[in-house]
Amino acid sequence: MYQWHFDIVWSYRWLFLNGTAITVGLTISVVFLGLLVGLVAGIAQLSHSAAARWSSWLYIEMFRLTPLLVLLLWVYYALPIMTGIKLDALTSAVMTLTLYGGSFYAEIIRAGIVSIDRGQSEAGLALGMPPGSVMRRIVLPQAIKRMIPPLMNQSIIQFKNTSLVSVLAVPDLLYQGQLVAMETYRALEVYTMIAIIYFIVLLPLTVVVKRAENHLAQSN
């Protein structure tokens, strides 16, 4: 029978806490930036301009169809060789996760916008509102309500995705855990602890998403 020694984990609690804070902070930044990118790319998908539609499509599919780990390694190791621009690990990680998440957000945002009845934008246009105001004042306020649950789900996935940045030595929760495991030879306790932390952070969020989904189902 394996002898668990969680007291070792306890003595490294500040490292775990620090790693959790970095993971949470990283998630918040890439969710926020990713939503901005996703909004632009999602709206570009519906643009009259073929160039805007085509380039946003290319971006979305390129990032959606490439494994995140490959993207992270590519941006960090291959991009500098090709362009001569060397980004530090954190910048590469934030940029890649933002663009990766943004490509998924873009699809959610596009689908949310097209789900709004055409009659709504026609009514806005008929009042003399320019297309931009119709989007801002009529379509988006209704579409955002429908987008919130899938956007939150995507953000939960994004939270878990951040663990991959440890391959670039960004000191997130997983990376700091790896250091502790190497130092203490207590991999079992350390990785169990990490799994529990992810679970504890995400559990309340999934409850919120569930509620939002139910609320939406009722209001429809």
Binding site: D117, G119, Q120, E122, A123, G124, L125, A126, L127, G128, M129, P130, P131, S133, R137, I138, P141, Q142, K145
Partner: protein, 253 residues
């Protein structure tokens, strides 16, 4: 008197499907024109061309002092020009298309506030006055979902009137309503007619068309087949197609 609305040589196709062939019509100021015809004859498309929700392939449209030409050699109006033009042509839709995330009052205020930049307080009193006019003073602060179809359509008429349009276009404003709610909407349209609003009304309410409209246009296959004073076209149609179409209504009473 120069006509308020003047349309000539209007054509529209969707891909291979020609929907409007050669539409010519004019509406005098204060006149009410009813547009009738079988399903698919192009009534909605014509109405939507008149406020540029659909861009014609060729022809001329003039409403008041704004005129546009379409077809080879003429540039379609720019986005902002379209918006300014639409702000003076009111349109009422079959399915109301009220904004569900706004209260009744906010629905009516939306045009004046966001298009005309009218101060909030002024827009509130304008909206309240219009809602009183359509008999909905007691529904000012509710959301559209709680209203009956007839009430929704009256709100949507008030919303259009808030822009103080030069003309009003109605696309089957009563077709989605339960029979007992049709009257209250027709009542509002009747009132607008009495006030001298220039209107084009697409309708299947033939007796209403005869009562309120000065002129009736009968459309079939993208053409205006017959037109004239309401009593004549409805009471004594000359064209065979008009007779056949109207016979469906007479048998229903």
């Amino acid at each position: 008197m120069t006509p308020k609305i003047e349309i000539s040589g209007l054509r529209k196709s969707f891909g291979a499907l020609t929907v409007l062939r050669d539409i010519n019509l004019h509406v005098e100021p204060g006149q009410v024109v009813a547009l009738i015809g079988p399903s698919g004859s192009g009534k909605s498309t014509l109405l939507r061309c008149i406020n540029l929700l659909v861009m014609p392939n060729s022809g001329h449209i003039r409403v008041g002092s704004d005129s546009f030409s379409f077809g080879p050699g003429s540039k379609p109006p720019a986005v902002m020009q379209q918006a300014r033009f639409r702000s003076s042509t009111g349109m009422v839709f079959q399915h109301f298309n009220l904004f569900p995330h706004m209260t009744v009052l906010q629905n009516v205020m939306e045009g004046p506030v966001s298009v005309k930049k009218m101060p909030k307080a002024q827009a509130v009193s304008l909206a309240q006055a219009l809602l009183a006019k359509v008999g909905l003073s007691d529904k000012v602060n509710v959301f559209p979902t709680t209203l009956s179809g007839g009430q929704k359509q009256r709100v949507s008429i008030a919303r259009s009137l808030a822009m103080e349009p030069e003309v009003m276009l109605f696309d089957e404003a009563t077709s989605a309503l339960d029979p007992e709610l049709v009257g209250e909407v027709l009542g509002v349209i009747r009132k607008l007619a009495a006030e001298g609003m220039t209107m084009i009304i697409v309708t299947h309410e033939i007796s209403f068309a005869r009562e309120v409209a000065d002129r009736v246009l009968f459309m079939r296959d993208g053409l205006i087949v017959e037109q004239g004073p309401a009593r004549e076209v409805i009471g004594n149609p000359k064209e065979e197609a008009t007779k056949v179409f109207l016979s469906h209504f007479h048998t229903r009473g």
